[in-house]
Symmetry: C2
Subunit: 350 residues, 2 copies
Amino acid sequence: MIVPIEIRQPEFKRYDITIDTLPKLHYDRKVAIVTNTTVAPLHLARVMERLEAPQIEVIELPDGEEFKTMETVLSILDRLFEARYDRSSLLIALGGGVIGDMTGFASSLYQRGIGFVQMPTTLLSQVDASVGGKTGVNNRWGKNLVGAFYQPEAVYIDPAFLETLPEREYAAGIAEVVKMAVMFDRDFFDFLEKSDLKAPETAVEMIARSVSLKADVVNRDEKEAGVRAVLNYGHTFGHVIENETGYARYLHGEAVAIGMVMANELAVDLGQLSREEAERIRVLLEKWGLPTRYRVENPEAFYEHFFLDKKSRNNRIKFILPGGSIGSYVMRDDIPKAQVLKALERFRES
Amino acid sequence: MIVPIEIRQPEFKRYDITIDTLPKLHYDRKVAIVTNTTVAPLHLARVMERLEAPQIEVIELPDGEEFKTMETVLSILDRLFEARYDRSSLLIALGGGVIGDMTGFASSLYQRGIGFVQMPTTLLSQVDASVGGKTGVNNRWGKNLVGAFYQPEAVYIDPAFLETLPEREYAAGIAEVVKMAVMFDRDFFDFLEKSDLKAPETAVEMIARSVSLKADVVNRDEKEAGVRAVLNYGHTFGHVIENETGYARYLHGEAVAIGMVMANELAVDLGQLSREEAERIRVLLEKWGLPTRYRVENPEAFYEHFFLDKKSRNNRIKFILPGGSIGSYVMRDDIPKAQVLKALERFRES
């Protein structure tokens, strides 16, 4: 006998991303703010000032990707159990991507899921981690290998968070914004070229357009299987660069900037992008002080590195490239190795 | 600026529960079977015989609720990473509820979610854990306090699994079946009274009706907030009994059987159930050798124990009772303490 089971789910998970001065927040639930030792001195007072709840715990973690582990997440859960938090309690992630990923993951686990609110403080986490629901931790086998898909119930992006962000980290966030524009929205690319992205109003518009684009991609992924992979533009090359340099020399966004320039070289060779538009992208990245050069000592070795990435299955590398011009994309897994090596050769002396 | 985000989800998660001799299963993905030292000698050969996959790992855990911990789940993940399993890999849970809960949880975590298949070997896990998606582990603060909601992609219930199940465990599963019938389906209760539930065809029908009823409850919970709590009929009292007896004297289903009889005493007093129908329920449970008596030494202390349960918020205990007769339910949080003590008094000498 076969019993077909259909578990009904809400068709949408809805939440608002508020890009504005942090409003007064009144919760009738216990709240725990998860933050780190770098962010707390800068922004915790501002959040506490605006927050009302029957109980507020602050969980301050050490700062750094090396603490993005299951042990840290379990320590968050321990704190919540000790304070007798229940299923109606709420976590607030105050910090960058590492804090957001761990807080979201802890929220998904605690009593099989409690609410969480994101207050991303870096440009990168504002544009990237606010949408998509990816949470998780690293382990000795790699990054983000253990985690959950879990959506926040609200995201608050206070432009004041950005005032204390180092210039270099701001630029690293811009790299992901440029990625979205090159792949999906030519008009947005024009906007990025001509705007002062440090000016508060322009920053707000940039963030709003980025998160809308990303939400659109995440939703299309349902029907258009794999379109979410387009978000890896610049990342296929970038991951190898990060790996070759021991995750020490470049911020993630910086490696992605170089990776986009590399992908563009390949795209130009394949007729997927004009040389002129490749230059426009390079110039925009350099305007933000992002690196666009990287010395590939051994193209063959660089190529072999692609296969260590968890995204390359069946020995086929999926390259994400502009799809003819800025504002469109193509996914190709049929590019001959020689073609890729030819593009990498150009970075030998760079 | 406020950007509304809507993340689209499939409206249903669909899977089949096949209640029949285990079919031949061909997977073109790597498979890991998670089982324990009690179940493996009984059923592993049968499963291996019918299973084809490019790689099959067997992860054999120690048997027992005390191993239902995060450490055990992390050890499952470690084995998968060591064997280089990827996002397309599949876990098979071969065992009772503990194995199912941990395997489902591990599946939800590995690379943010891989497929899993349930092969529940106890009647309790067949009727209870096959539907609902609750996975997780215990910790020093309580049971199932860390976990995820995660659906299997298929459930296979081979009646042969039941042949080796001790009589007492079979009866404990029956208690949960009786619970479903008393709450939701009078006709099903009649069927249980008049059928030989050990006969294979009748067992198959009993399991099929139970899982269908549970799927219906889980889906109604969307609209009818909290109807899922009805599944706690017998559990509110049962948990206290399990706790008072150190989780040692009774199987969970046995404590639930006593709990239902206690709830029924309260229901009779409140006019929610006739004495005659309360007797029918008691007789059916006793026919299976299930306990229906328990000596409440101190009704006042028993009552206080309700408040240690994570389900009783705001100092109000929600009692799930028959709603006038067998086949219907009522949820009440307005029952005076004196009324409950009066019902408990009757168990002082039992």
